[in-house]
Amino acid sequence: MLKRLLEYVGFEPGRLTARWISASEGAKFASTMDEVTDKIKSLGPNTKMRDEIL
């Protein structure tokens, strides 16, 4: 639901990843992390909600 809402206000699909991983699923965690970092790298830096903190 949140992902759909974010896309609706103009965030790229894939900017947010949410996945259910149990503590015993080390390999799934590692591969998910690889997927997420690849995805984020391919999207480039986020430009939304990036105002400077004064």
Partner: protein, 320 residues
Amino acid sequence: MMNLTKQIREQAKKLLEEKKVDLVIGFGQGTELARTTPVFIDSPEGVSALTWGPFCANNLAKYLVDYKNAPGNVAIVVKGCDSRSVIRLLDDNQISRDKIVVIGVPCAGQLEWQKVADEVKPDATLKETVDNGDSFVVKTSTGDHTFNKKDYMLHRCLVCENPNPVIADFTIGEELPVKNYAERFAEVEELEQLGLEEKSAYWDKQFSRCLRCYACRNVCSVCTCELCVFDQMKPMWVSKRTNLSENTVFHITRAFHVAGRCVDCGECDRVCPMDIPIRKLNQKIHKDLKDLFDSPTPGSKEGLLSALGEFSLGDPEEFM
């Protein structure tokens, strides 16, 4: 609609005289012809302040929260959409059923007061309003005006799901048929069709205008946290700076905090001084909840669980 006003007054008077309630919350004539104001009546003599017509857009349900710890009972006048708020407040344990008396009024629609005010002379006084099915006739001291519902009603009324209250101890007047003048999610679908950058630009333009006055939160009958994340200082979840970035956080968070409980009353949208189309965020969530979980509008039935607060094995799992 004089007749309905009379019946509401009679009902209120009876409740106060018989001491069934100590207070009646309803609509009273406002300072302008096309506006009403909430009135709080505590004596049988006061009921003449109550009125009814196509200018009763306010959802009064949130006031019930103010009286939840007060001694005595409270009666409230509700329309169809407001009644969903009453159910949600009951289901959220914000109010108790035995302390409230619901006076339900089947609602023929509410007009946008600005549009009406544009056409009526500023010094005119209201004589009577008549519901003619697809239009209202507003009779004033300077002449009669006809307002087509399709062009003058609030958007929420064009797509009204239940003009008849879904919870009521007393119903005033006859039940009305459901009549829609627009597709419920047409505006959301239009936005969904836009490209990513267009969507982003559209919402940036809206969010950047937000004053963070929090009127949208304060009016909302499902925003009932005593300590709201937007007010909290330690930790400061959301900064109080008013800029596009923080406003975007505010809007996404607000919309998501009411997801699954928002009754689609449209009040947040109506009260926004900056005309930010807040309801289009809530409606996106309503649409997704319908598509993904086939869930009915929150508050449309008693005892419904919040769509995001219940789990079933058949739920779609986009995150496994």
